[in-house]
């Protein structure tokens, strides 16, 4: 595993994982604001025309980004420059299969590695279809990060965990990003089940919007992922987004640090 990824989960407090979409607004300034606010790990969304697992907030961010002409080269440039400014902050690309495999999985893996990316989350390549992208990423020294969901039963879990590295992303609701939030008890039960099956850190996301929700999850999980609430701020505030992002991230970070 990349040392940056493992260090994010080796801190005395659970990790705050923040997501924004690349090319939506002034991404460099927005990313810096997340780091200043206390984000422990950055997920950078690769825009796609057909974000099937995303709710309205992230759909709109994808449309804004592509509408502004964001290309794969631009996403990689944003990552590379982030790495230069923040040599120690782990960075994960998250997105859909087609933009990742368009020029071939090896091309993508080596380009992402060259840009200083630590991990990749691909929403629509399940373990059953992961015989090209996963191996290419591992060969390039990048962690393929898998998703587990409320529908991932005990029989399937080993298959999801096999070849999974970095951390395990628990999608806490059967649904799309940014909509309803899961019941706390179900999150606790699920995290316990996952941690019994793997030594990987478990980060919980989907529907986490407020510092209070984040704190509740931080009491049981190794990481908390916040996406849509941040992406909405980018959409709402445009060039002024950084100060709003910094404020929400600080509030989230503070609650998470004192949750336990």
């Amino acid at each position: 595993m990349s040392s940056r990824l493992s260090s994010a989960f080796a801190k005395p407090h659970p990790a705050l994982v923040t997501f924004i979409t690349a090319g939506d607004g002034d991404t460099a300034a927005n990313l810096d604001a997340l780091v200043e606010g206390g984000a422990d790990l950055i997920e950078l969304g690769m825009p796609f025309t057909d974000p099937m697992a995303d709710g309205p907030a992230i759909q709109a961010a994808n449309i804004r980004s592509l509408g502004a002409g964001t290309t794969t080269a631009e996403v990689l440039r944003i990552a590379r420059e982030f790495r230069q400014r923040h040599p120690d902050v782990p960075l994960v690309l998250m997105g859909y299969a087609n933009p990742m495999v368009r020029r071939g999985p090896e091309w993508f893996a080596s380009a992402a590695a060259e840009a200083g990316v630590d991990g990749v989350i691909c929403v629509d390549i399940p373990p059953e279809e992961d015989d090209a992208l996963g191996p290419a990423l591992r060969a390039a020294g990048i962690a393929p990060i898998r998703l587990a969901t409320p529908t991932t039963d005990a029989a399937r879990l080993p298959q999801v965990l096999e070849g999974s590295t970095g951390f395990l992303y628990y999608v806490s609701v059967a649904g799309i990003t940014g909509k309803q939030q899961a019941v706390q008890a179900s999150i606790e039960e699920a995290v316990e089940r996952l941690k019994a099956a793997t030594d990987l850190p478990v980060a919980v996301g989907f529907g986490v919007r407020t510092p209070e929700q984040a704190a509740a999850i931080a009491r049981v999980a190794d990481g908390v992922v916040v996406g849509s609430a941040l992406v909405e701020l980018v959409g709402e505030h445009g060039r002024d987004a950084p100060e709003h992002l910094r404020k929400l991230t600080s509030a989230l970070s503070e609650e998470i640090r004192t949750a336990r």
Partner: protein, 404 residues
């Protein structure tokens, strides 16, 4: 091209792959569900009672078998091969779509699902889905691009009369692709009680296989009817391809008849070179979308580009994975036909045969105009008239500059 396989009829493999295409490219939330669906489909396929109920509904509710018809005047006008039609437009609801909907709703009931969702472009699959939902008393939600809702009002009203809720989708270009995205989003959030009736031979495995199997009734009937009527098999099959369900339904039972040639007709819209078309094979490249790997219209970064066709049913930037495989294996040829050619074939069929064909089917008929000449008078070309064109009269009137 690789060595031809022993059979073209034994795809997909156990992982749902047609050669390099197909598969199950879905979010983890949906994986357990598509695996369940596959198990249940295998069980249903092996259950004579399921097949019997399917056959019974096709006969008495859909009105099958659909006729095989010798198009005498069109044959004369084109001056080449004998032209025969498989009359899918005579089915209940006016197109081949109902065959698949009957099969899938029986599967849904078998799986204990209590709600049905579907996507629709022109509204034909939406109407067919709303129809079977009314027939079996299940609540039905149809996702339809807002652009399509505006241009297909008669079908929207039909769905509502049948008791369905129609949800307009505003994202993207607000057409079929966006309706499918929204249906997938709804499904992910309602997997416990909802069955998604996909309208074409695409999507995650096992959809391409089961849609093909349900639609194969077209080819099985046509093969038997042709043998009974003429004592021989056709020389060429022609069918229009959007996602490709009517085409694969006709082609599949003939795939291992080496003397039967096949042409799938893609919508070339304003022409391949214009960039405004829906010809995924001729003008696209392999990629991953909506649960399967297949040929897609996309840019160099893998962003999906908008399709264009005069026919709303062909207006989709992808194609079923089995077609991608048949294309690369060379067993089936694919030909692009533009809006104007389809429009001309539409009118000729109306006047010469007294049949108003769907604009989708008119693409197949237009290919006939190009090819009939290459065949002698004792040869047979069979065209799948997949749907009737009543729904298209507004589009056609508009193109011809006629105000209704």
């Amino acid at each position: 091209m690789t060595t031809p396989p022993n059979s073209f009829r034994n795809q997909p493999d156990e992982r749902g792959h047609f050669g390099a295409y197909g598969g199950r490219y879905v979010a983890e939330t949906l994986m357990p569900l598509v695996l369940d669906l596959e198990r249940e489909y295998r069980a249903a396929k092996a259950d004579p009672a399921f097949q019997q109920q399917f056959d019974d509904l096709l006969e008495h509710y859909v009105g099958r078998p659909s006729p095989l018809y010798f198009a005498e005047r069109l044959t004369e006008a084109l001056g080449g091969a004998q032209v025969w039609f498989k009359r899918e437009e005579l089915n209940h609801t006016g197109a081949h779509k109902i065959n698949n909907c009957i099969g899938q709703i029986l599967l849904a009931i078998r799986m204990g699902k209590t709600k049905i969702i579907a996507e629709t472009g022109a509204g034909q699959h939406g109407v067919a889905t709303a129809t079977v939902c009314a027939r079996f008393g299940l609540p039905c939600t149809i996702f339809m691009g807002a652009t399509d809702v505006a241009r297909q009002q008669p079908n929207v009203f039909r769905m509502k009369l049948l008791g369905a809720e129609v949800v307009p989708v505003d994202s993207g270009a607000a057409t079929l692709k966006d309706a499918m995205n929204e249906a997938l989003r709804h499904w992910v959030a309602n997997v416990h009680d909802t069955f998604y009736i996909i309208g074409t031979a695409a999507g995650p495995h096992p959809y391409p296989e089961l849609v093909r199997d349900f639609q194969s009734v077209i080819g099985k009937e046509a093969r038997a009817q042709m043998l009974a009527r003429t004592g021989r098999l056709p020389d060429l099959l022609i069918a229009a391809v959007g996602g490709g369900s009517n085409a694969i339904g006709l082609f599949h039972p003939f795939l291992d008849d080496p003397d039967v040639a096949m042409i799938g007709v893609e919508a070339a819209g304003h022409g391949i070179e214009s960039g405004q078309h829906a010809a995924s094979l001729t003008g696209g490249a392999p990629g991953v979308l909506h649960g399967n790997k297949t040929y897609l219209l996309q840019d160099e970064d893998g962003q999906i580009t908008e399709a264009h066709s005069i026919s709303a049913g062909l207006d989709y930037p992808g194609i079923g994975p089995e077609h991608s495989w048949l294309y690369e294996s060379g067993r089936v040829k694919y030909l692009p036909i533009g809006d104007d050619e389809a429009l001309e074939a539409f009118q000729l069929c109306c006047r010469l045969e007294g049949i108003i064909p769907a604009l989708e089917s008119s693409h197949a008929l237009a290919a006939l105009h190009k090819l009939a000449d290459d065949y002698s008078k004792d040869q047979i070309i069979l065209v799948n008239v997949s749907g009737r064109g009543d729904k298209d009269i507004f589009t056609v009137a508009d193109k011809l500059g006629v105000e209704l």
